[in-house]
Structure formats: C-alpha cells, structure tokens
Subunit: 166 residues, 2 copies
C-alpha cells in the first residue's frame, strides 16, 4: 500500500492535561467537557484509551497554553465532582504530526515514526492517529530535533518545517 508522507508539522502552543481514574460509566466525558466548552476553551487532541484499572479510564487532552491555568482549575474541580483521581499536566509539550495520504494502515508509518524518535531517545507522551496523520506529543525541547529526523526518515525536502500548524 502506497503511503505518501507529505509533510511534518509541529505545534508548541499547547499544554497537556490528564485526568486519571475517571469512572468508566456513561456521562463522565460529557460532564468533564461541558464547563470547558462553555468557557469556549479550544481543545485540540482528546485521547482516551482503555486503562489498567477495571472500571476506570484516563483522559488526556490539550488546550492552548494561555488557557492552561483556567482549564486545570476546571478539570481539578470536575475530578472532585466526578470522583476521579489525580489531575496532572505538562505545559511544555510539542505536538509533532506526520501527514500522509493512504495512511489507512498506520502500522508501517507509525512504527517508522516511533523508531525514528526512539533512536534520538525522545520519549513519546501521547499518540493520536487519524486517516491522514499520526501525531505524537513529546517534550517541547525536542521539537526541532524531532522535526529534522522525521524529515530525514521520510526523505522529505529539506524545506523548513511546515510551521506551527495544528
């Protein structure tokens, strides 16, 4: 299957917030995001997989850095209200995205991305995929390094990175 990777983008304007041990029952995600939505806080990535504790789930999401403090306070208030666990966060992140067509099967492209970052000892803090892209959240300080080695790995033009596109 022909996957054509067309570019690498990065975004350093976001911060990650994680709410752990959310009761895994209907309605929790709705209650958590209602105040965030009402406050018109933009949310970019929302990630929830299955957790390791039965009946609980961890949810991570990213918000613009300027909204970080407000969103943390809301999430902490909701964590109490929902009977969830700790809220932890990191404002110093970068989202690196590899954009491609025909990504129907991410495993090949994803594996190459993970190996490329791992060869530079860059730790992957969040992963999210869609048909056209694989996004990894890493420590902000590795942004340039990550973009450069991914450009090389996918043999993209040495053009300057596509810039801070979401």
């Amino acid at each position: 299957e022909q996957v054509v990777v067309s570019g690498i983008t990065y975004n350093r304007n976001e911060a990650r917030i994680t709410i752990t041990n959310v009761p895994d029952v209907p309605g929790m995600a709705a209650k958590l995001f209602r105040p965030i939505s009402d406050a018109k806080i933009n949310v970019d990535l929302i990630v929830q997989g299955s957790g390791s504790i039965p009946g609980r789930a961890d949810m991570s999401f990213t918000v613009p850095k300027p909204d970080y403090d407000k969103a943390i306070r809301m999430t902490e208030r909701m964590a109490e209200e929902l009977g969830a666990g700790k809220v932890h966060s990191n404002p110093n992140i970068a989202k690196i995205s590899v954009i491609g067509l025909g990504m129907r099967s991410h495993s090949g492209v994803a594996c190459k991305i993970f190996e490329t970052l791992s060869n530079q000892n860059i730790n992957i803090k969040m992963i999210s995929t869609s048909e056209i892209k694989v996004s990894c959240v890493i420590d902000e300080k590795y942004t340039e390094l990550a973009v450069r080695v991914l450009h090389d790995a996918f043999e993209l033009e040495k053009s300057p990175p596509l810039g801070t596109v979401k």
Copy 2:
C-alpha cells in the same frame, strides 16, 4: 466559530487491543509496533494518553477483526518482552465518527457528542480526535442507536448512515 458537521460514519470491522503499564521510556512504542507492522496488520486508531501510574503508559489500538487473534498473541508476547502489564481487548466494538469542518475547537462538538451518547446510557471506551473528526469507540450493540441519535443531535439529513467508513 462555525463548525459544520457533515456526517456520521461507523465501522464495526475493528477490534480493540490495550497493553497496560508499558514502561514510559523511549523505544517502547517502536518495539511494540514493529512486529505488527512486519506482519502487515492494518492498525487504525492508536491512542496513548498519560496514565495514572508514574513512569507507565497504557496504549490502545484497533485492528481489523480478522487480525484480532494474531495481533493479540503478538501484543502479549511483546508485553512480556517489554515488561509491561496485562493485555486486554474487546472484539465487539464500533467506531463512531462525527465528521466536520472547522473542528479546530473540538470542545463544543465533542461535548455535544458525549452528551448525546450519555443520554442514551452509551459508555465511551475510546476517544480520538483530529481536525476533521471526533471518533468514539463504543460497544458494537449500540451502533445504530448511536448513529441515529447523533444524526438527530447535529440535525443531519435523515439519510442512511454514511456506511462503514474507517
């Protein structure tokens, strides 16, 4: 911000696999996906947020149902090799996606999706977002109900669901 939701899609051809308590150090994601990629198993969603146990992360991903058994065996073997925790899975899932333009801010659309599903007592097992879509993995048995109530919530034409689009 004008968000135009253009459709709802669903996919019941996938199964979810989760590997818990993966050591949160560089290289783990690369090692996990290498055998899956070598076996040419298509992976659709890959989701990793931050976990509740410091130094560990849970990773969830979806594979085509026919590859479920093979992928589980690989993941269990890798879990041992990487010193990760339990592998759990569910072959009876459906991925429901709400497609829209201008989703730059997911919080409004996401919140409405979560509330619509919660009103039907449908539990959300995975969440993944991209610029053009919000995807929720739910129990397969709620597919039709979820698609119908989301069509209503976003006032989409009563056309038949867009079909099993990834």
